[in-house]
Subunit: 200 residues, 2 copies
């Protein structure tokens, strides 16, 4: 399959997920959104689940490309660029896609291959945050925090914002503001009341 | 219907959700877990969705009862008791129930009545946290934070821990530790570098 054809199927999967959600997604509905016949889709992907595994790989690659494009030197700017990628893509994709993605997350206990990809995505997110924090600590721009703990906390908050958008129809921008304030306080150097502490 | 019968149906719904998940839940499967026939269930609840709305009410009431039982006077102890209720019930219920609950959250965009109950539950959670924080600020035990912002951040983190348990098979205790450290830092009084600030 050419790269263009593969990308076309991924875009079609995205549209079909937004239109029908995960539970009502079928190969026919993905084919309907693409230039492929259902038979051609089945030639490349045995099942809907196999196609969705590739789709999760595609999302992870896209995230990594977007992050790589945001190559600020300053650690705090890198964190802001990371939050831009996360929150702006969520915003442009809208609630329909966020809902489909939450349905897929709820399938992870039944599908090891979904879980592996979600774990990889989470590691990538946490990796970006931890690296920027570590760099900031080393340069003395941030206080002596544990980069892995901060990264895990940030990832958990982003996961929470996602579920709140879907379940409660809450604007993710509300969480972004709270998260920025948390980072400002947590990373601010030279807090005299916490020498040598490893806060999160 | 007697209170006992209603409670029996709620317990049966809980077991059926753990056993089959949300998508494969049927009135027959709930009846199989209870002392009722499927016909008797249908007499009280028109549809599976109607029964699940009552089930969400039941969970909310149970949460409110558990919280009311934890009536510590000290604001920090009240926050710890709240975290006990949240994290210990999640732990005792296990991943099967957490998964079913996440599936229900992913249904909220399609079911206004689910969403209303999830919003009510969220308001109850945030209310407990905000009240304890407000009380602590008034007594001078906590610094001058915005209680609503802290409560929203705590709720978001708990939502994130829930999705991580399901999607990533992550132990919720990891999030609890991070959340306690966050509260310790955020609420600690007398930080000289932030007079009059409203951190979250």
């Amino acid at each position: 399959m050419s790269d263009d054809a593969a990308a076309g199927i991924m875009e079609a999967t995205y549209r079909a997920l937004c239109e029908h959600g995960y539970a009502d997604l079928t190969m026919q509905r993905i084919a309907d959104e693409s230039d492929c016949s259902k038979a051609a889709l089945h030639y490349h992907y045995d099942t809907k689940e196999a196609l969705l595994r590739s789709f999760l790989d595609f999302l992870l690659e896209r995230f990594e490309t977007e992050i790589a494009g945001a190559d600020a030197v300053d650690p705090r700017e890198r964190l802001d660029a990371f939050l831009d990628v996360i929150f702006e893509s969520e915003e442009s994709e809208g609630t329909a896609f966020a809902t489909a993605l939450l349905e897929i997350k709820a399938q992870a206990p039944y599908d090891e291959a979904y879980r592996d990809r979600l774990l990889e995505w989470d590691r990538a997110m946490r990796g970006v945050v931890a690296e920027a924090v570590r760099d900031g600590v080393e340069r003395g721009a941030f206080r002596e925090v544990d980069p892995e703990s901060v990264a895990r906390f940030v990832a958990t908050t982003i996961n929470g914002a996602h579920v709140r958008e879907v379940a409660l129809n809450e604007d993710m921008a509300a969480t972004r503001d709270l998260l920025e304030a948390y980072l400002d306080r947590t990373l601010a150097p030279g807090d005299p009341d916490s020498p040598g502490e490893s806060p999160v």
